[in-house]
Amino acid sequence: MSQHSPKINDPKKYWLDDSRNVRKIIIAIFVVCAGLFAADAFYHKHPHFAAEEWFGFYAIYGFVMCVGLVLAAKLMRVFLMRDEGYYDKDE
């Protein structure tokens, strides 16, 4: 995803430079997600709407909406994105 590869003169290694550490964080997040999804079975809901009673409603809604948001926004770029100097020509 990087569009330029700058010269990095930094011999120091930082914690996140090691891909194993990044993997650890991602696994931790996945475990938390799975745990939270499963937690729906263990508490009593006080819903305002019937939809809230569905198993894992909030988790699924959050996931689906976020994916939809990003993909829709990506499509918007096709129509709405111009080069950086778009307005400068006039001003």
Binding site: M1, S2, Q3, P6, K7, I8, D10, K12, Y14, L16, I26, I29, F30, V32, C33, L36, F37, A39, D40, Y43, H44, K45, H46, H48, F49, A51, E52, G56, Y58, A59, I60, Y61, G62, F63, M65, C66, V67, L69, V70, L71, A72, A73, K74, M76, R77, L80, M81, R82, D83, E84, Y86, Y87, D88, D90, E91
Partner: protein, 581 residues
Amino acid sequence: MPAFLAGLNPGWLLIAAGLLALFVRGRVVRQVITIAAPILGILLVSGTPHGVDLLTHETLSITLSFYHVDSLSFLFGLAFLIAALLNAIYALHTDNRIQDGMALAYAGAAVSAVFSGDLLTLFVFWELTAVTSVFLILQAGTRAAYFASMRYLGVQILSGVLLLAGIAYVWNATGSLSITAFTSLDQPGALIIFIAFGIKAAFPFLHNWLQDSYPKASVVGAVVLSAFTTKLAVYAFARMFPGQDELIWIGAIMTVFPVFFAVIENDLRRVLAYSTNNQVGFMICAIGVGTPLALNGAVAHAFADILFKGLLFMSMGAVLYRTGTTKANELGGLYRTMPWTTLFCLIGAISISAMPLFSAFVTKSMILSAVASTGMIVVWLMLMFASAGVLEHSGIKIPYFAFFGHDSGKRVKEAPFNMLLAMGMASFLCIAIGLPAFLPGFGYEWLYSLLPYPIEAANYQPFTPGHILAQLQLLALAVFAFILLQRLGLYPPEKPGVILDTDWTYRKVGYGAVRWIDTVWARLGPAMTAIFRGFSGRTYDRLVDAFSPRGVLSRNPVSRGMAVWTAVILALVLLVSYLRG
């Protein structure tokens, strides 16, 4: 408190201190002024009795009320004063008289506006916020900032002019300038004031002045701007249009549409500007619902937003100050050398995402509960979607692309100490407000006790298993979606560019139309003038030929004599009719 201080409006104090700061050349003296004034202001407002006109003036049979504090305006005033203090600390590394002075005067104008007890006073300070804040954009010193500041000023003044027009209608209809809530938009005065407030609150289609101007302001300017104008509008709506149904839908739309723009925007300060729209949308929606719980939620969320939005703008300001850019495609990996800024940015990001134990959780929960109790499921789903969207663009995108993500190779210094101090204080408050009340009156209970409806607030319990789990599930799976899309390469990459928004209509279409008319006129004008000259010249020549002393009609004695006799007869007729009475 001494008696002479009791009637002193802290807003006026800040305005006076700001004007003084404009003329103080000594940097240290000016710094003392910019920090002491908000501290004194906080002390003053804390000791002020509520519900009393503390300073009035009678003129032309109008009673002006300059200083009136009550449970609705108090928290707004307090938040503005805290923001003014944090902003002053954040600006300590600079030496800029205009910026220091105008930032204080702008904060003072906003405080004076929320504490004004009549419409005319509100109007004066409403306009003063526009006039003082434009300097904060100009201080960036760039050509783009200059043009943006002029557009900003135009929009803000339009809001003020509409407000004045609405006030004139209301005064004419009711004979009173008192600030009272409207029950409907049927009167023209109410509708005009509604639009005037809507411009400042950045309603959909009226919103783009915000994205156009804030990201072009100076490092300090953007932080200062983020606190006052939109939240002043939120206060005005809460004061004059509580329970107005239209606001529910307007607010819900405001929460949703900016999220899409924020995802694809490359300039991280512009992402925050969209995020401001989105957060104000939650408050506007709650004001539309209008129940005590909803209004409590709107006010509390405004208070929290001033802190976490300020904090996020501060962290991006620090990045801009050190690297010279806030463009996502030029940033990344800054956590290596800016660990404290990264930490504070993360606290702001988690707070705005309404993670339990952070400020927005205890404030936004009230709004979501209030909307759910109305039974409007579509609005509720829109707000839930927007909550996940906030996490996506403000919670993840801002810190990820600035401090993590791909390594830009930039190894800049950590932010100056004063910036870190301001960010640290804002972070502390974001957490302090969001904590459960381990001791009675601390944590979120402190904020709840100051809300307009303290009894309803005391009965509301944010930390229930249902609230906590629902929010955590929503957020965690939204994070999961982000990671998945990144890994699969589906997330839109950071790319330099401009995203078109409603300002396109006047910056391109409007400007183009004016240019076109100009060009057409430049050609048509001279041609028309020539034609007209030719035509009128010929007509003139003919008239001279006919009627001038040397013209056709004057050439022979008969026509000369005719003219004289006509005049004599006319004079006789006049004389006779005069004598006859």
